[in-house]
Each structure stands twice: as structure tokens, then as C-alpha cells.
């Protein structure tokens, strides 16, 4: 236990550190002050969170938490002053830093790492928790999916009726966590036309949460997300409080759907492609409604929302365009591939595989990604990153002609090679893992094409 220092002094010290770290250009000072505060007094975060007059909301999921949180911010930003960790610093220290930096904030809006959720729940005592999905992800870092679900269950069991749980009913594990909450809002997709013909190879929660029998799916939309029922014991998707119906996918341009909540329907126009972004928008809608937004706020906020770097943002580089899509686990990468192919498969792609801790040191997941539909249309693929050769092997054994694969380990050289292979007026698709995406963003920013993320967050 560290000696008690008045909170004001700790906060001042940590804020000074934030200024220094930003001056030192160490990455926007996103977590350094939080780590400092953490060292001085771990309980300070609890006090800072308790000062938010409208409380806090947490968003966790394997995939889509950054986008979902940004959507909620777009919906609620006009209504409340937000403390939002928009830079993606989503561990306890990142939440602490955001609380420190957001003077005068009314509502906390935090995306939270799946593993860090129990501790953040305990400290922040949120009024709403939005749980999006659980896919297999970085087993070397998070452990098995069921263990994560167990820890979430324990965290939710400990909260009182003042906390509303907003859950994706289409995910059997997540929907089941919702059942134990006193207050729960369930969201899901309701448009059988967009169901997949079969569960994907990497589908995770295929077995009944209650009895272990394989679920039957009336519709599987993304990975194991869908409308499921256990033929043995009847465990099934909970009834939907917030649903997306009449979904229309418009290639890489966007999506439209009917948002149904509380007996009312609104038409949502989203400038983000793919069914998985419908899930993100639905999660954001359900959470924003829980936090006091109206359906009109939701419609307007989502209509204005645009993609972020690495999440379908397009960047003009000279007379070519760059489309960067973060890939980090089989489920997310499968959706990126599916959406790209639906929008007209690209002919050139740069794919970057790093194996730092934040990427997952175990790179075996690339073999579980269904890259094949993408490979079918590719003329050139540049494999890059610290595990470029492994990635090239994935494509070689996936059936891509070896002559079509170039291994260029350096990211900057790989980007230039990709641009060179892209015709004038054409678009280069880049699929990087997390640290490769950060490095790429830096390269593109240094060339003057994109804002640094701490500027974007302002």
C-alpha cells in the first residue's frame, strides 16, 4: 500500500506526466499518466470515476469494441461531455489516463480489453456494460474463450441492479452472461437473407452452453453469431430487445438497416460496410438508448459516423487510394475478407503479420482464416511483417501461385511495393495486424496523409 497522497496532488502529477510524454512524442501520452497514477494510488481511478455525474459505460468484445465505442460517442457526443478512451488504450491504465485528461466530463465511455474487464468493472462501477462478442483470439495472451466468458460471468454477477447489461444475444456465450444480470438489454440480427450457408471453419461456440450438444442455427451471420437453438435442452437465443432487420449491404460503401427498438423502427444509413459493422452499430444503438439517447439521436449519430484508420478508412496517396483493414484473429479477418470480396475482390494486397505481444506471439491463427476467397482474385500479394515468410507459406499452401507472392519483410518497403503494383487511380488493400497497423499509420502520417491518433481524438 502506498502512502495516502491527496487525490488532487496525484492527479496534478499524473497530468504533468501526460504533458511531458506528449511533448516527448511518445505516442500521445495515452497510458503513461495512467500508469503513474496507478503506481501512486490504484484506488484513485475509483474516485475519479465516481466523480462523473452521469456515470460510466464500458464496452468489451473480442472484435469491434473500438468502432462500437466511437459510434456511441458520435451518438451521445452532442448530448454529454464524454471521457472516452478513443485512442484505444483499453487497459486499466488507459481508462485512468482518460479520466485524468477529461476535465469536466459528464459521462465515461470506455472500451475495455476483455481480460481487463473484471477489474475495470470493479473500479469504475459502470451504469452500463455492453458485451459484443467472444471469438478465439490470441490464445497465448487471453487463454481459452471459455475462461474469458467465466471471468465475465463472475464480474457481472458482482454488479447490482443499478448496472444494465447490454448483450449480443446472437453470441451464445455472451447472451448467456446477459441472463444472470438483473437489468439486461439483448440485441441481435433478424434477417435470414444474410445467413451464411454453413458455420465457418473457425466458428467457436458451437456447443450448447448448457449441455454441450451442437447448436442448430436458424441463421449464422458472422462466425458463430446467429439465431441458435439447442436440439437437446432448448437453450436458445434470448428474445431481442433491439434488432436489425431488412439489412442491405452496399459493397464496400456502406450498409442500411431497419433499427427496431421499443416497438419503433428507424432506418439507419451506415457508411461502413459488412455485417459485422451492423453488429457494431446495433451494439452502439442498444447502449446509447440505455444511456438516454433517443432513436433520432441514434439515427443521426450513426448517419454521420465515418471509419477510422485501419477500419475501412480510405486514404488518398497521390493518385492511388489506400484501404487499411486491421486483422487480428480468424473471426475478424474472415469478415474483412468476406466484405472485401463482396465489394469486388482486389487484385493487389499487402498483408502484414507481426508477432509482438499485442499481435499475439503465436501466429498459428492465420491458418484458421479463410483467405481463400481473397486469394482467388489476387494477382499480387506482398507478405510483410516480422513473420512474413510464415504468411507467405499460408498463401502457398492455400493454393496461391508461388510467383504471385512476394516476401518483403520491411513494412515501408512493402507498402511502396504494393503502391507500385497498384495501377493509377486504383486502390491498394492493406491487411495488417495490430502493431503493423500502428507502424503503417505512422509511415502514412509522416508522409502527410493522415492525422496522428491523438489529434483525431481531440
Amino acid at each position: 500500500m502506498s502512502p495516502r497522497i491527496p487525490l488532487g496532488l496525484e492527479v496534478a502529477a499524473a497530468r504533468a506526466a501526460a504533458g511531458l510524454s506528449r511533448l516527448a512524442r511518445r505516442g500521445g501520452g495515452t497510458t503513461i499518466p495512467g500508469k503513474l497514477l496507478w503506481k501512486l494510488d490504484p484506488g484513485a481511478i475509483d474516485h475519479l470515476a465516481a466523480r462523473l455525474p452521469r456515470g460510466a459505460a464500458l464496452i468489451s468484445a473480442t472484435n469491434g469494441k473500438t468502432t462500437t465505442a466511437a459510434m456511441v460517442a458520435a451518438i451521445l457526443g452532442g448530448r454529454y461531455r464524454l471521457a472516452h478512451n478513443s485512442s484505444g488504450a483499453n487497459l486499466v491504465s488507459g481508462v485512468a489516463s482518460t479520466l485524468l485528461a477529461a476535465r469536466g466530463a459528464e459521462l465515461g465511455l470506455f472500451e475495455v480489453d476483455e481480460g481487463a474487464l473484471p477489474e475495470v468493472v470493479r473500479r469504475v462501477r459502470p451504469r452500463a456494460i455492453c458485451l459484443g462478442n467472444l471469438f478465439r483470439d490470441q490464445l497465448d495472451r487471453y487463454g481459452e474463450l471459455e475462461r474469458v466468458a467465466d471471468r465475465w460471468r463472475a464480474a457481472v454477477t458482482a454488479v447490482g441492479p443499478e448496472t444494465t447489461l447490454v448483450v449480443n444475444a446472437d453470441d451464445p456465450q455472451v447472451g448467456d452472461v446477459g441472463r444472470i444480470a438483473v437489468q439486461a438489454v439483448a440485441f441481435g440480427l433478424d434477417d435470414i437473407r444474410h445467413a451464411q450457408p454453413a458455420l465457418q471453419h473457425a466458428a467457436d461456440s458451437k456447443w450448447c452452453v448448457a449441455c454441450g450438444t451442437p447448436y442448430r442455427y436458424a441463421a449464422a451471420y458472422v462466425g458463430h453469431l446467429g439465431d441458435y437453438r439447442c436440439p437437446s435442452c432448448g437453450h436458445a437465443r434470448p428474445p431481442l430487445d433491439v434488432a436489425a432487420r431488412e439489412i442491405e449491404l452496399d459493397g464496400l460503401e456502406g450498409t442500411r438497416f431497419a433499427l427496431v427498438a421499443g416497438g419503433e423502427t428507424r432506418r439507419i444509413e451506415l457508411r461502413l460496410p459488412g455485417l459485422y459493422n451492423v453488429y457494431n452499430a446495433l451494439a452502439a444503438s442498444a447502449l446509447a438508448l440505455t444511456l438516454g439517447a433517443t432513436l433520432a439521436d441514434v439515427q443521426e449519430g450513426l448517419g454521420r459516423f465515418t471509419a477510422a484508420f485501419g477500419r475501412f478508412e480510405r486514404i488518398a496517396i497521390g493518385d492511388r487510394r489506400l484501404l487499411v483493414l486491421l486483422i487480428k484473429n480468424p473471426a475478424g479477418a474472415n469478415e474483412a475478407v468476406r466484405t472485401l470480396v463482396a465489394g469486388g475482390a482486389p487484385r493487389v494486397a499487402v498483408i502484414a503479420l507481426n508477432d509482438a505481444i499485442a499481435d499475439g506471439q503465436d501466429v498459428s491463427w492465420i491458418w484458421d482464416v479463410d483467405f481463400e476467397p481473397l486469394l482467388a482474385g489476387l494477382e499480387h500479394v506482398v507478405a510483410t511483417g516480422s513473420r512474413a515468410a510464415e504468411l507467405a507459406l499460408r498463401f502457398k499452401y492455400g493454393g496461391l501461385d508461388e510467383g504471385a507472392v512476394e516476401v518483403v519483410p520491411g513494412l515501408e518497403r512493402a507498402l511502396d511495393r504494393g503502391l507500385e503494383l497498384t495501377p493509377s487511380q486504383g486502390e491498394l488493400v492493406v491487411l495488417p495486424t495490430y502493431t503493423a497497423m500502428l507502424a503503417l499509420r505512422k509511415i502514412v502520417a509522416e508522409r502527410g496523409f493522415v492525422r496522428q491518433y491523438w489529434e483525431r481524438a481531440a
Binding site: 481459452e144 456447443w207 498459428s364 491458418w367 507459406l393
Partner: protein, 248 residues
């Protein structure tokens, strides 16, 4: 020549990209003019005593492993017969554990295994996670290395006299103490190494294919392939094992 792989529980045990191993066997057979048929053998399916050249069993999460364990134990007799008749086997991670006598979890609950390999596995408090490099000698005088990734809570202890798959150069291995990894019994190999194992260690894929050809009465000689990418991937993985393997 047509060769047959019997893929055990592909719908349950597939967590560490096991299909990568299957893809490598299939392509490397095809590049040498052989056809590889992959036959899924899941819960309720019978193990053919004849006709399968290579059995493959991968790893799953605890829940999936528990779901298949009783079915797998019941297949033990038929699998033994098939192996006695010359089939080869590669078991990775969870599949490797299930081939021993038992797996005891942290609550002390024991899951019976097939007892094919002379080993038993007891879960420890911490997981052993990281890159691994092994040295093995499947054929006398031919020392080769295997580079992979391990992630297991189980500590597997071989009986005295049981043959490990290899010696740990860097990483944890079976239990983090013995300095050995995996188990070998005739043409049956078990290991914790995924990654997946075969793409970056193609010599092992070729060894399995050669045994399958022998079983069919064919020459086990396989034409060499240009494995530059495979070599590079192996080198990077081996370097990783030296840099950061085997750290608790």
C-alpha cells in the same frame, strides 16, 4: 498413389490451426504426384482398421477435449490395430495428451486417455507458453530440428523407458523440467508443438508421407521441393525460440 489421412475430430479439435498441417500433407503429396484423401473421423464414427495411412489428431479447448474424450477412449482398440498394421500418427497438443493414460485438471478431476503413449499429464497452475525448438532423430543418424509454438497447462511425464519425440533446445517441452518434448512409439508421434507444425518443418510432413508410401508397398523416396520459404519460416521461428521460448 492414393494415400488416406484419417483426421480425428476435425470439428472439435482444431484450435491451433490444425488444418494447416493437413494442407501441408495434401499439397506435398500432390506435388509428388500422389493424391491425399482426408477422411474426417468424429464422434460416433468407426476407426477403420485398414485403409488409413496417417492418423491426425489436433488440439481443442478444455471443453471440446472433454466432449470427445469418452468417444476417443472407446476408439482406442481400433486405433491400436490400425497402428499395428502400419499406419502412422501425428497427435498435437490436446490430442497428444488424450493418447496418454490420463489428464488430471487443476481440480483433481481425471480424464481417462487411450493409454497408447506411456505418459500421464497433470495440469499445473501456470501455462507454458512460447516458441520451442527441438532436436530429434526419427531415423538413426539423421538429426533434424522442429520449430513450433507451445501453449499448455498440462505437465506431461513420460514413463522411464518411453521415447520422447525430441530434446528441447529452447522452450519448455513436456513439463518444463525434463528437457524432453513429445513422445514416440513406432510410427506414432505426439507433441505439444503447433504453429502449425508442418508448414515450417516440412521434413516431418515428408517423413509421414514416406511412411504412408511404404505402408502401401511403394518406394518412400520423395522428390525434393524448393523449400526456401519453409526454411525461412523455420529460421525465424527457431530464432524466436532462442529469444523468448521457455520463459514462465
Amino acid at each position: 498413389m492414393k494415400l488416406v489421412v484419417g483426421h480425428l475430430y476435425p470439428d472439435y479439435l482444431n484450435i491451433y490451426a490444425d488444418r494447416g498441417n493437413i494442407a501441408v500433407l495434401a499439397r506435398r503429396a500432390a506435388w509428388r504426384g500422389h493424391e491425399l484423401e482426408v477422411r474426417p473421423l468424429s464422434v460416433g464414427d468407426e476407426i477403420p482398421r485398414e485403409g488409413v495411412d496417417i492418423f491426425y489428431v489436433g488440439g481443442g479447448q478444455d471443453r471440446e477435449q472433454a466432449l470427445v474424450a469418452p468417444d476417443f477412449a472407446a476408439k482406442g482398440g481400433a486405433l491400436r490395430v490400425a497402428l499395428d498394421r502400419g499406419a502412422a500418427l501425428l497427435a498435437v497438443c490436446g490430442g497428444y495428451q488424450l493418447l496418454g493414460r490420463f489428464y488430471r485438471d487443476t481440480n483433481g478431476v481425471e480424464q481417462p486417455g487411450l493409454g497408447l503413449f506411456a505418459h500421464e499429464t497433470v495440469a499445473g497452475e501456470t501455462r507454458m507458453i512460447g516458441d520451442v525448438l527441438l532436436e530429434c532423430e526419427l531415423e538413426p543418424g539423421e538429426r533434424r530440428t522442429l520449430a513450433g509454438f507451445e501453449n499448455h497447462a498440462g505437465r506431461t511425464r513420460l514413463d522411464p523407458g518411453a521415447t520422447p519425440l525430441g530434446r528441447v533446445v529452447a522452450g519448455f517441452g513436456n513439463d518444463g523440467e525434463s528437457g524432453y518434448e513429445g513422445c514416440r512409439l513406432g510410427l506414432a508421434l505426439g507433441t505439444y508443438l503447433h504453429g502449425p507444425l508442418l508448414p515450417r518443418n516440412p521434413w516431418l510432413a515428408d517423413w509421414l508421407l514416406a511412411r504412408a508410401l511404404e505402408r502401401r508397398g511403394e518406394s518412400p523416396d520423395l522428390a525434393p521441393l524448393p523449400d526456401d520459404l519453409e526454411r525461412e519460416a523455420h529460421e525465424v521461428a527457431a530464432r524466436r525460440a532462442h529469444e523468448r521460448g521457455g520463459r514462465a
